[in-house]
């Protein structure tokens, strides 16, 4: 697959009230990568995602998605988003799994058009990818946290996005299912060629699975291949986090990574 820049941020800054949360971020995200976005609490990771998605507007700088300025960007079906809030939705909401997944097609279908049988097929297909097809007609609130998370990934996948953004998707998912979850992401990245950008706290696990790592604290401190990030010294990390962090020992299980550089 040919590499191209799909997300480009230039000198992006953003402040909440008077405090700068994101400062002078320059970032270039290439297609085909699996990026882990890490950083301490309050380092602006989630805000950076919101900026990319146009959910908040930057105070400075410019953002391009797939070569278009964010303001003119229309092709939202190219981007799937699984938010941190996805597993804190109103669990009493009276909707079936398939109804929720179909909402992922809203941008693809466009205004004044209706859901039809083809869309139902697409939704079932997306549920098959996340192995949740048998729950299609269950009530969304009756599923476990891990199952709901898979449904939200199916919702993000149903519009065939080329970029999938996940904001701390493993929060509230038990440890046993986290491994399965990463396997699923690896499959999406390698088999379907979907570019992944995932915000996480779990530095140890993400460097095992991602091809690239972005480490930020208001601004980007590191952006490069995961292998290089592992070499990133403990001292540098401590400086970045402002306190001592336990470097997780990486138990290298070999897996193939799609290096495109």
């Amino acid at each position: 697959m040919e590499n191209r820049t799909i997300v480009k941020l230039e000198n992006v800054s953003f402040k909440y009230d008077r405090e700068w949360v994101v400062q002078d971020v320059n970032l270039d995200i290439q297609s085909g990568q699996f990026l882990g976005l890490v950083g301490p609490n309050g380092s602006g990771k989630s805000t950076l995602i919101k900026l990319m998605l146009g959910l908040v507007k930057p105070d400075h700088g410019s953002i391009h998605l797939f070569g278009q300025t964010l303001k003119n960007y229309q092709d939202w079906q190219e981007i799937g988003f699984v938010s941190q809030k996805a597993n804190s939705f109103n669990s009493g909401f009276p909707a079936t799994v398939i109804e929720v997944v179909k909402t992922g097609l809203v941008s693809r279908i466009g205004a004044f058009k209706f859901f039809n049988k083809k869309h139902k097929e697409k939704a079932l297909e997306a549920l098959r990818v996340v192995e949740m097809e048998e729950y299609a007609y269950s009530n969304i609130g009756e599923l476990s946290g891990g199952q709901q998370q898979r449904v939200f990934i199916a919702r993000a996948l149903v519009s065939d996005p080329s970029l999938l953004i996940l904001d701390e998707p493993t929060v509230g998912v038990d440890a046993k299912h986290v491994t399965e979850f990463y396997d699923l992401l690896g499959k999406l990245n390698q088999e379907q060629g979907i570019t992944l950008l995932m915000v996480t706290h779990d530095i140890g696990t993400i460097t095992e699975h991602a091809t690239h790592v972005i480490c930020m604290n208001k601004t980007v401190h590191f952006h490069g291949a995961s292998e290089e990030y592992k070499e990133f010294s403990e001292e540098d990390l401590n400086q970045l986090y402002g306190h001592s962090v336990q470097q997780l020992t990486h138990n290298h299980t070999h897996h193939e990574v799609n290096h495109n550089d």
Binding site: W76, F81, K85, F89, P94, E99, T103, V106, R155
Partner: protein, 284 residues
């Protein structure tokens, strides 16, 4: 009953208006309930009263205006109130629900003053507060028919946008849905439906027709579409039972409609409970 229905125009007006709002009030009610905006219906119904009062006062003081249908002024105030609530929600970002008591008490406060000035504490007012089977004019019935048709059409056209916005606002935004416009459109529809329902159910009980059938439906329904279907079925049943018993018992229909809706609610809660017990027994 059927004989008098064919004979009296006022009964036809009330019945047809009742059937129409029995569809459209629970239809919008589903979106109101799942978005946790139930109290907005109350605030808007109270400001509708202010509009009615203003209309009564103008009719009384300005002699050139006679036989002015107060429903139009009620609608105008309700829509104005809806827009004001949206404004206030932005002013009090962290206390969005404050907008509701502000509009609700403001509406009643101004309403009481206007009613007093119009010497309006009489049977007319009573029928606006609790509904009436005799007060619906042919003119009002046509207005409600037009509003009902428009609302149903808009809900069908914007179904997926309304649904995605109700389930997950952030996702709606990432889907390119213009949440602000859809929400404004929605709340204006709510305002119009409240003003339409007022004559049959009464201002004080309008919100019940939007929320009680939905409260029953979400106990039973699995999907969102089912929730809509059941809500309308329950709403319509309450309206019909309520209107017929209101006519026979000579009590305001607002009371009988709400009591019917509450009986349905109790039945749906019991039904769910029995089902759950059966399920536990089946497992054991």
């Amino acid at each position: 009953m059927i004989e008098s229905f064919l004979q009296y125009e006022f009964l036809q007006n009330a019945a047809i208006t009742g059937i129409l709002i029995g569809i459209v009030a629970p239809l919008l009610g589903v979106f109101i309930v799942v978005r946790r905006l139930s109290l907005i219906a109350d605030a808007l119904s109270h400001i509708t009263l202010t509009g009615i009062a203003a209309s009564l006062l103008i009719e009384k003081r300005v002699t050139t205006v006679n036989e002015w249908n107060p429903i139009y002024m009620g609608m105008a105030f309700s829509v104005f109130g809806a827009i004001l609530i949206e404004r206030l929600r932005k002013v009090y970002k962290h206390y969005e629900e404050l907008a509701i008591p502000i509009i609700l008490s403001g509406g009643i406060g101004v309403g009481v003053i206007l009613i007093s000035l119009a010497d309006g504490f009489n049977t007319d007012l009573f029928s606006y507060l609790f509904g009436s089977v005799t007060a619906v004019s042919r003119d009002s019935m046509w207005t409600v028919l037009v509003i009902t048709s428009i609302v149903i059409l808009i809900v069908i056209l914007f179904y997926k946008e309304l649904f995605v916005l109700s389930f997950d606002e952030e996702h709606a935004s990432v889907s390119g849905v213009n949440g602000r416009w859809i929400h404004l459109l929605f709340i204006v529809m709510v305002a119009l439906v409240i003003a339409s329902s007022m004559q049959v159910v009464g201002i004080l009980l309008v919100s019940a027709l939007m929320t009680l059938p939905v409260a029953s439906a979400i106990r039973i329904a699995k999907s969102f579409k089912q929730t809509i279907g059941l809500s309308i079925a329950f709403g319509e049943t309450s309206v019909l039972i309520g209107l017929i018993s209101s006519y026979h018992l000579s009590v305001p229909p607002g009371g009988t409609i709400v009591v019917s809706a509450i009986l349905i609610l109790i039945m749906s809660i019991l039904y769910k409970r029995v089902r759950a017990q059966q399920w536990i027994k089946g497992e054991a």
